[in-house]
Structures are given as C-alpha cells and as structure tokens.
Amino acid sequence: MASLRCIRELSRRATTVLSISQTRLISSIRGLELSGKSITQAEAPVQNRPLTRDFLWYSRSQGRQFASKSNGTDESSEGEDEEEMEVEREYSPAEIGYKVMGPLKSSERLFKPYEPVFAVVQIGSHQFKVSNGDSIFTEKLKFCDINDKLTLTKVLLLGSASQTIIGRPILPDATVHAVVEEHALDEKVLIFKKKRRKNYRRTTGHRQELTKLRITDIQGIEKPEPEIVLKPSKSADTQQPEAELVG
C-alpha cells in the first residue's frame, strides 16, 4: 500500500518536475529514478524552493523504496542486487556448519552397538557431547538430504574410559560420523506481546526447522575391546535348575 502511494506521489511530482526541466519521457520507475538522478545533478543550482523540497522528498523516498524491498515489480531489478549480495555471504556448503557431506547411504550396516567413547563436537554455534548411537537435534542443515552420511569435522574433545584427548581448540585428526534422520519442524510456539493500558497486543506463531542426526561412529581415539560374554549352552541350562533344587 505504501509503495502504491509512493508511486502515485512520485508520478505526480515527477510530472511537475518534467514540466519545469523538460527531460525525456518517463515510462517506468527505473526510468524515474535515473532521470531523478540526472535532474539533481544537472539542475541543482537552478532549483526553486518547492522544487528542492520535491527533490529531497524524491531522493528520500527512493532511498526508502530501496531499503524496504517491498512487492517490487519494477523495483525488483534494484532489489535483486541487494538480495544477491546478502545471500552470497559466506555460505560455503559445509564449512560454516563444520560438517562435510559424505556420499549417500547405500546398503551398508552403519549402526553399530554402543561403544563407551564420547566426543564433544560443534555444529554451527552449538556444542554437543555425543557417543555412538545418540540422536542430536540441530538447526536445519542445508545441502544435506535424508539418509545422507555426514562427517562432523569440528571435534573439541575425545574421551574414553581410560583416555581423554583435549583439542586446542579442535582435534584435526578426529572425525565423528553421523547420518541425517529427519528434517522436521518443531512444535509451534506462540509469541505474545502486550503492553498494558496502551492498546497493544500481538500474537505470532513460530516453528523452528530442525535436523535430527544419528551419531554412528567416533574416530580418533582407541576404543576398548568389547568383552565377549559366553552364553551358557542349553544343556547346561536344563541341568542347572536340577542342581539348584538338589542344593
């Protein structure tokens, strides 16, 4: 709505400006803005008071349109540059979240039984103490799909029952392997704002996008060998109750 009002005002004032300065015809808003610039540069010394007010308002309104990035049909060409600049910010696919994507999971058995080894791993700005078989909920990770294998490269600490390896700040040789289980939305939280006696009340809903990772393997530390528990055979089982009864 504000943009429509701006456009109407602009066209009105532009016609007045045109009638005085006799520049070329204005067809689109882009053209308006260009000619507006040329007018300010060329006609600056010759302005009357109402004209200067118009120009100031004009340039300010142009600035406002730039910043607001509203439903731009004609402004979209200028708005796009700003948006592109924002998106290009440093979003290299995996390094920002300290994860590297491995290939998609094929029919391999990745899910091993529990090993008593833990690691402190950082994803984005959150750190977790993970072990084999744990699940972690992180902020939504782009560039990875369900059932993708990830390697979490930023490992700060490794520990087992006998050893602890502390990184300064990270351990370069340690890796933690994980698999993406789901990308889902959290439950809706209602954000309610109120200022009493001021007739101000706002309600917003928000659902955070999360990714669930399942940790499969921790590498970089010696793992204790699993104890092999000998299961008693069936013949021994049938004999034992008899022995107990007798004893």
């Binding site: 078989g133 087992s160 789901e182």
Partner: protein, 119 residues
Amino acid sequence: MALRGAWQFQKLVVSYCNWGGSSRGIRAFMESELPALIEKNPQLEVATELSRGQHPYLKGIYRNRNERVVCVKNMDPEQVLLNATRLRNSLGRKVVKLRTRHVTKHPSVQGTWTTAVKF
C-alpha cells in the same frame, strides 16, 4: 525420515478435485512436480485420489501407522511441493516440544560425577 536407515514415510495420498478452484495448485503440482518427486523417492508409494467437491489435501502415512494430513487448498504448486517434501522429510512421530536436543541412552562414559569423585 529414516530411522536407523529404514524409511518411515510409506505412502503419500494426493487427494484433489478436478472441478474446484482450490485444487488448481495441486492439479498443476500433479502435472509438473509430482513425477519428479516419485522418481526421487522410489521407496515411496504415491496414490492420487479424486474427491469431487472437496478441498484438496496431502495425506502422509508412516510406518508407525500415523497419518499426517495437510490441507493444500488455494496453494501454489511450489507450496504444495514444499508441503509434500516436509511430509517426506519427517518421521511419523507426534509433534511435541523438544525436551532436550541430545537424546542418549548412555549419558556417561567415564562415570557420572558426584561430589565424592576425586581426580
């Protein structure tokens, strides 16, 4: 939506109306984006249902026999694709507030600390 490697999302039911205007988006989705979705997810069964006079919806059936229904009336095909992808990406669990971000069965490796532990 794969729990330990097993896909949880089993079936997607696309219900639409061939007359109503609220189904326009989903009809366009079925022509343009649904074949690509089927190709990318070979493990998924997709069924289309015609229900005349009703608003369109997407129904997702999961392995825990949970059904999630999303109404897609008056949506663009891109929004319908987003909703379908969200259904496909989630496990069938109930949407509840997270208690902790770290779910584990073995919280301690070196022994839980108490005040009696001496290093």
